[in-house]
């Protein structure tokens, strides 16, 4: 009887997981755009329950297929951690945004689940870093609420970002052909991840104060330096993210569509120059345009990724029943293909919709913030986040050329996870600060 049950779980879990995910996603979309506070608070609790069921099924499935009980301990750990995160944040910061928090918890939980599946060894490190990130992040809303000097450090931001990136370019270690990591005492960092936050603060600090053409030009030069250093480090994905975030933020902040136009023209020109000048750009484009001709060489990674996606179909092969490890760097750049292969495309689309929900939530929150500095920061975080998702998912599915960035929360990699956590908690902090402020204003009047 018990054994029969086991095989039913193995055969059926992929369908049930997809159904739970569809339900969760539907609720996420409803919550995101609903104005009814009571309804939202009920639905978010239902979401937490679904999250628990979802993760339980995933780990039960993995336990049955692999025959390793360790997976159940991992499930216990993740559940405890997510439960702890949601409750403690809700208690300490009662004005935090529960909708965003829920989606973040789900993405983080699924990320840990997928990393556990792909590599047991890497999973342990990922758990530690996630815990550490959360511990650091818990203080962020408090700091943002109390400290007032963030907007005054314009030149510190500009200089520190450039210095960090140049240091990596000049002295960093070469990882998979790109100078993007830096090792201090055995810990390997990818500083470009953290520099994203510095860059956003730099732009916000500049734009909330100055709007004139002269200052936009100055911001363009400094941002250009960031981007060029990244291109020289062969970190094309990050370079693109910085560039797109810059253009969108400037347009949002100045309300001048001409900057959008010049950004597009400049971006196109820069792409052509980069294509002509750098071989590593050319290789990506060639692999994108004609992957089947270069299948055993430049396009090996993308074609293996396409095999994985097509093999999964709509419902996937089932957890631990695919071959995602056939794809080079699957746990980092191409983790979305692994999701497609084992969970199926329906689940993967739900995951994308949840990412979009996070982004839309940030946009809605950003629109409601009166302080322009903080509004810009939240807006920038949203754009960077969603554009990164677009780059890695589009790249891994041959929708656009592959650039090699991580899928926030889902990919393994400490710097990526920590940066994303910090970004999401900065948003929470700013929202809390803004809601506190509104509450004070209301009390006075």
């Amino acid at each position: 009887m018990q054994i029969t049950l086991k095989f039913y779980v193995i055969e059926l879990s992929k369908y049930v997981i997809t159904v739970f995910m569809l339900l969760y996603t539907t609720l996420a979309v409803v919550c995101n755009f609903s104005q009814k506070k009571k309804l939202v608070s009920v639905l978010t609790s239902v979401q937490s329950g679904l999250m628990l069921l979802l993760l339980f099924l995933c780990f039960l499935d993995m336990t049955f297929v692999s025959g390793r009980e360790e997976y159940l301990y991992l499930f216990a750990f993740i559940t405890l951690f997510l439960f702890f995160m949601i409750t403690i944040v809700s208690i300490i910061y009662d004005k935090s945004d529960r909708i965003l928090l829920n989606n973040m918890a789900l993405l983080s939980g699924m990320g840990l689940c997928i990393v556990s599946r792909l590599s047991f060894a890497k999973a342990f490190r990922q758990y530690i870093i996630t815990l550490l990130s959360f511990a650091v992040c818990l203080a962020i809303p408090f700091l943002i609420d109390r400290l007032r000097f963030f907007r005054k450090l314009l030149w510190l931001y500009a200089a520190s970002g450039i210095i960090i990136l140049s240091l990596v370019l000049l002295t960093g270690r070469k990882t998979h052909g790109a100078f993007i990591t830096y090792t201090i005492k055995g810990f390997t960092f990818q500083p470009s991840e953290f520099v994203k936050i510095i860059f956003l603060f730099f732009l916000a600090a500049l734009l909330y104060k100055y709007n004139s053409f002269k200052w936009i030009l100055i911001s363009a030069v400094i941002s250009g330096i960031y981007v060029i250093i990244l291109v020289l480090s062969k970190d094309l994905g990050s370079a693109l993210i910085f560039f797109v975030a810059y253009v969108m933020i400037v347009v949002m902040s100045t309300h001048n569509y001409l900057y959008l136009l010049s950004g597009l023209v400049g971006g196109a020109a820069a792409s052509i120059v980069a294509y002509r000048m750098f071989d590593h750009v050319k290789v990506r484009v060639v692999a994108f345009l004609d992957p089947w001709t270069y299948i055993d060489d430049q396009a090996y990674q993308i074609t293996q990724s396409l095999f994985a996606i097509s093999s999964g179909g709509w419902f996937g092969n089932g957890l631990m029943q695919g071959r995602p490890s056939d794809i080079p760097f699957v746990d980092q750049d191409l983790v979305f293909s692994a999701v497609c292969e084992e969970f199926g495309l329906l689940f993967a689309i739900c995951l994308l919709v949840i990412c979009l929900c996070c982004f839309c939530r940030m946009m809605i929150l950003s629109a409601s913030i009166a302080d322009k500095f903080y509004q810009t920061v939240v807006y920038g975080i949203g754009i960077m986040y969603i554009f990164q998702v677009f780059l890695t998912v589009g790249g891994g599915t041959k929708f656009i050329p592959l650039t090699g960035v991580t899928l926030p929360f889902i990919s393994s990699g400490g710097s990526s996870v920590m940066t994303t956590y910090i970004m999401f908690f900065i948003v929470q902090g700013i929202v809390i600060k803004s809601r506190n402020y509104e509450a004070r204003v209301e009390r006075k009047t």
């Binding site: 095989f7 949002m252 097509s310 495309l345 994308l352 322009k372 807006y379 677009f390 929708f399």
Partner: protein, 493 residues
């Protein structure tokens, strides 16, 4: 309209609080625009992904760089391949130790058509690989199989191949190298697909070393679809078609006196065996396969039109078929010398053709000008016989007009009634065809023997194309094989 939209926007929270001209309002609009841009971008990406997954799964599964088959090998027992009359052509069996092996009851007879599935794949084993390796077992069956540690049965494939006809062809071809294709005139279903030399797909692993290292050994090549041969006189079908296109109303007036050879620009082309055909019209030239007359015709043809006719018939472009095939070559253009023209008119020179291609052209003629896509898989069924997918005849399009097809039918009929294939002239069925002797060496006995035909001539059912390497003339060697196939086909009816 714009005003109305703005009014609506104002009511929408949180816009209503702010004036339109305020910077706060403008930022909000832009933030919402960004939201829509990315939602749109993701929408397109999701649509793209859905289309990708629903259209490319089977193609990508068969790619040799894709190792996903390993997943199915663990829990699916490769399905069975049947002939059109329900005989097993390939199935999975277990030896006394419980090891799986692929069993081919007919040995090497279907070597190229059914193919093999280890050390790479070919034939139906390749084309239907996705289905053979996927299961239609229900949930409870799968769970039961899991419990008993038995593999799930893969889908079965019902092919269009006929064991009886394949056997006739295989027996006759014997030790000769060559190829035979038989297809249905109106559907494009392939009944026979034979290529010699062959190999035993059941022991391909053990024989691999020998097969791949034997010098000149090309057992793995499917000559029926991949072999490129000079078409010889069978190419006169295309030359005649071009002549008809240039002379639709007065082709009957064509007249030529054959004295055994033709000379032009110091080049000399002779009729086979030094025959002297005397006075001939077009039908007579075709029926008796007069080289001199066709060289004479070739020299009179418009080069561009001729080239277009060949392109219409899929020369120099991949054949419209899912079968692994080579591209036939024939070139007539401004750069061609008169010698090239003389050679091309009778299917010699640089002209090369696959037997499959000639069969498709024959089929188009038999089918009133409409070419059908040739196919070997009729349907896919699960282990209970329920049809999962069935393949329907698929037209490639019209490659010649009905009149042109009628004209070629008449010419090919004359080949049998009073031409080179008289052996086939009998009362039980009517055949129309064309013989060929492709010379590739000085010695006439070293020529390839061709024959392509269909029957019955007035309402065609099957098309037969035969090439026998180094056998001599088509008349002597290829025509008798066609007779046996037609006999077997019509006797069974």
């Amino acid at each position: 309209m714009k005003q109305e939209w703005k009014e609506k926007l104002k009511d929408f929270h949180p816009f209503k609080k702010y004036r339109e001209s305020s910077p706060r309002f403008k930022s909000m609009v832009l933030i919402n625009v960004s939201m829509f841009i990315f939602c749109g971008l993701f929408f397109f990406m999701i649509v793209y992904l859905s289309v990708f997954v629903s259209t490319s799964t089977i193609d990508l599964y068969n790619n040799s760089y894709n190792n996903r088959e390993e997943i199915q090998i663990k829990n699916v027992c490769r399905g069975t391949i049947y002939s059109s009359d329900g005989e097993v052509l390939a199935e999975t069996r277990y030896d006394e130790n419980g090891n799986e092996f692929r069993y081919y009851p007919y040995g090497s007879m279907f070597a190229h058509a059914v193919g093999y599935s280890v050390n790479g794949r070919m034939g139906i084993e390749h084309d239907a690989n996705y289905y053979l390796m996927h299961t239609g077992a229900s949930l409870s069956e799968r769970v039961n199989n899991d419990l008993e540690n038995v593999k799930n049965p893969g889908f079965d494939v019902n092919s269009t191949l006929s064991v009886d006809l394949q056997k006739v062809a295989d027996d006759y071809l014997g030790l000769y190298n060559g190829a035979v294709i038989v297809s249905e005139a109106k559907t494009g279903r392939i009944l026979v697909m034979l290529s010699h030399p062959d190999f035993n797909p059941g022991t391909i692993c053990e024989d691999w070393e020998t097969i791949t290292t034997t010098p000149g050994g090309s057992q793995l090549v499917n000559r029926a679809t991949q072999g490129l041969y000079p078409p010889g006189s069978t190419f006169k079908i295309i030359t005649a078609l071009e002549y008809y296109r240039e002379h639709p109303n007065d082709w009957q007036d064509y007249n030529y006196v054959c004295n055994g050879h033709i000379e032009h620009d110091n080049y000399r082309v002779s009729c086979i065996y030094g025959s002297v055909h005397g006075e001939l019209d077009l039908k007579g030239s075709f029926a008796r396969s007069c080289n001199s007359s066709f060289v004479n015709i070739g020299l009179s043809l418009d080069r561009d039109d001729w080239s277009n006719t060949m392109e219409d018939l899929y020369f120099n472009s991949p054949l419209p078929t899912g079968l692994l095939s080579n591209t036939s070559r024939a070139y007539i253009g401004t750069g061609s010398t008169d010698y090239d023209i003389m050679q091309t008119a009778i299917g010699q020179g640089k002209t090369l053709m696959t037997p499959l291609h000639l069969n498709m052209i024959t089929q188009a003629i038999a089918n009133g000008g409409v070419m059908m896509r040739p196919y070997m898989i009729d349907s896919i069924t699960d282990e209970n016989g329920k049809v999962i997918r069935s393949y329907q005849p698929d037209s490639v399009g019209r490659v010649m007009s009905e009149e042109e097809a009628e004209f070629l039918n008449e010419l090919m009929r004359a080949v049998v009634t009073d031409g080179t294939a008289k052996v086939l002239n009998n009362d039980s069925y009517t055949v129309a065809g064309k013989t060929g002797t492709a010379e590739f060496a000085e010695d006439i006995n070293e020529s390839h023997a061709w024959f392509t035909a269909f029957a019955p001539a007035d309402d065609p059912e099957i098309c037969v194309t035969i090439i026998i390497e180094k056998a001599g003339t088509g008349v002597e060697y290829a025509v008798p094989l066609a007779k046996r196939i037609f006999d077997a086909y019509f006797a069974a009816k």
